[in-house]
């Protein structure tokens, strides 16, 4: 693969989905069942039809059909050699110099869909979902607000990738509206809590990765083999009700404050597509314990931003710009830590980064930090301002890695806030 790779499909220079990318997703055409596809420019290549027609003879598939289901789980379970072979074959089929599809208009009619004509679904059946807390700047900002700068980070934070189990059932694909939750809130001067709609609804700009083969219970994945289990990445918005969180989270962590909705982008950008954007993981101090150290551990240079559009605005306004490389802990470290006690990961599990904040005030990944708990509201074009998200607001997270003349993009994850029920 190189950046001179070209497809016979017309692709705009700023498209997120050139032939260098080829992210996988699950889409539902009108009048047909959901199936797997890859995004190419404004189109989707239908892997189910392609497989049925015999174009995807991958040794690891054996006699199985893997792309006709409404999840990528079967494909995820096959592992990196099968993923890479499939990707290479698809790049070949889409290349400018390959005639199979290019010159067969009848076939092209059958295997290509306009992205605007289909409905995107979740890419996988997500069995378990874990959220980490791996951005130093985010953890430090939040800790400073709660406890002051001296004890902002807990003593464990630089020794292990802190994480917790999230709720898998309420993960939704981009475009799903999010209902403002109601819950118990204890106002600062009150002696008892009230039950009310959240007054401090927030987003969290995150990425997440999907697990491939996984491991058996009791058999940790060594860090040097962690990437064999990472299929690819999506964008994630971990919607959060800060007032609910403040009252409920001690001592067992966030619960209702975050389980009412978590949105992810539908296209999974493979780790293979991200290799040109790999950078060495900066030195960590203190040096991690050996099970968290890998010779070639990496971060990825992926630009990320969040855009807010209120009901009265005509276009979205960028409220923060950050980068995946601001994370302190790598995906491999997260995965090795997750399994080191024997916990089993399974195909389709989702492991998220936690809010990604950069070192500057304008690179913070959530309203809590951007407004410093409401003290410094965000000013929007048109004169509105926001301490927290309001009903009718649409929050969109986008991101891409910049290659030489092309982008490997994630598309977006977007959602609009609906008023609370009742």
């Amino acid at each position: 693969m190189s950046n001179s790779l070209r497809s016979f499909i017309d692709i705009a220079a700023d498209s997120h989905f050139p032939i260098q990318n080829l992210p996988f997703g699950i889409f539902k055409p009108k009048n047909a069942t959901a199936r797997a596809g890859i995004a190419i420019g404004d189109l989707i290549l239908d892997l189910h039809v392609l497989e049925e027609k015999g174009f995807l003879r991958i040794p690891e598939f054996g006699a199985r059909a893997v792309f006709g289901a409404d999840s990528l789980n079967a494909f995820l379970s096959l592992g990196r050699p099968a993923w890479r072979r499939t990707r290479e074959l698809l790049q070949h089929l889409l290349a400018a110099e390959t005639s199979d599809l290019r010159d067969n208009s009848e076939l092209r009619e059958q295997v290509f869909h306009q992205q605007s004509d289909v409905t995107m679904q979740l890419p996988a059946r997500i069995g378990d979902y874990t959220d980490f807390y791996s951005s130093f700047h985010h953890a430090h900002n939040v800790g400073t607000m709660l406890r002051g700068p001296e004890t902002a980070l807990m003593p464990n934070w630089k020794w292990l990738p802190v994480g917790y189990h999230g709720r898998a059932s309420s993960i939704v694909p981009s475009g799903t509206d999010v209902r403002r939750p109601r819950g118990q809130i204890k106002l600062p001067d009150a002696t008892s809590p009230i039950f009310a709609a959240s007054r401090s609804l927030d987003f969290e700009l995150e990425t997440a990765f999907l697990i491939g083969p996984g491991n058996s219970l009791g058999e940790p994945v060594p860090i040097d083999r962690a990437e064999e289990h990472i299929f690819g990445m999506v964008l994630m918005n971990d919607w959060s009700a800060r007032d609910v969180q403040t009252w409920e989270y001690q001592p067992l962590g966030p619960f209702l404050a975050k389980n009412f909705c978590t949105s992810i982008s539908p296209w999974v950008v493979t780790l293979d597509a991200l290799q040109p954007f790999r950078r060495p993981l900066p030195p960590q101090d203190p040096e991690p314990l050996s099970y968290l150290r890998a010779e070639t551990d990496s971060i990825y240079d992926i630009e990320l931003e969040a855009r807010l559009q209120t009901a009265s605005m005509t276009e979205p306004h960028v409220i923060t710009r950050t980068n995946f490389r601001h994370l302190y802990w790598s995906m491999s470290q997260q995965l090795a830590h997750h399994t080191v006690g024997g916990c089993n990961l399974q195909p389709g599990d989702l492991l998220a980064s936690g809010t990604i904040s950069g070192p500057t005030e304008d690179s913070r990944g959530c309203m809590l930090e951007l407004t410093w708990r409401g003290a410094n509201p965000i000013s929007l074009p048109g004169g509105e301002s926001r301490k927290w998200l309001e009903d009718g607001d649409t929050l969109t997270i986008g991101g891409y890695a910049s290659g030489d003349g092309y982008r490997v993009g994630f598309g977006k994850v977007t959602g609009k806030v609906l008023p609370a029920v009742g």
Copy 2:
């Protein structure tokens, strides 16, 4: 149903599985695929065969076969009217006065298995698993150890059923050995953590309930309708590595300390079978917010015990006796709280009680409390003692409700501790 109900099957007076119980489970006969059954005495009635032969014509099933799969999920999704109708039909078929099975020895040969001949599996595909912290005595004891008696309970504890999301993939059926986990441990006087096998492996005596139909995202289940979504209960051992937990749990809650293994008993005792043991929920102070109040909210009188057998002992020794009715928060309150912000529950989800401790020293539900963090080791017959679980120890939790001349029992959940790897 009454306690004069009798089956044509011989059932010992102290059996956990008389005709008044009829718990559901998934079993795998030798040389056949896993399917659903109910326990009756020492036998299992094969619901898959019974369904195939046309004995289970339940209107709610429609044309579906629900008992041939390796999980109860399809049955769980049908709801209480279907569950109750099935149970009544099965009680009729097994009654002493019903001849269909009683007098057909060929049919009996096909539909009955000896429990000792089969392998029990998990009763459901568990999508999400939540663990509550609903025993006042447990929360108070643990809080006293960590913070002293004055601030033992967090301010939120009596206002809401504190809970957190657990790991579904590592839930295993009774009889599965548990591997002692390794992890980061920070010794009290050390400046940095070490990586080592846990030195304070614990059990937690819990119960858990399986969710039936569940709710859509954004649509809370009102507390008065909560029991429509509770299919039945199992026993649970939430194995815990206390040293790992101490170091990792702030600020987001337990993670690796509890996700290496969680064991449940294989037979699901239905809420219908537990109705004779229903007791009014004692008054709560402060009075809960209205979404947590139900006219007829209940606890259940279920006796519970934990037994420990070391490698050198010839029989297990009871180390604690407690009761489900010691819980402060009811299952309906847990379920209503879980969904009040809009979180969706799905068929097969598991909601657990948290460690169940009674008010006395000998009714505490885990080693942490029983030994007061190792200060008062448990003395065992034969001269051994235990601060924590050691390799080769077998921990078994049992429980039943006592009727007039019969027991509605849960069987047991048991597991043996294997040494850490490496």
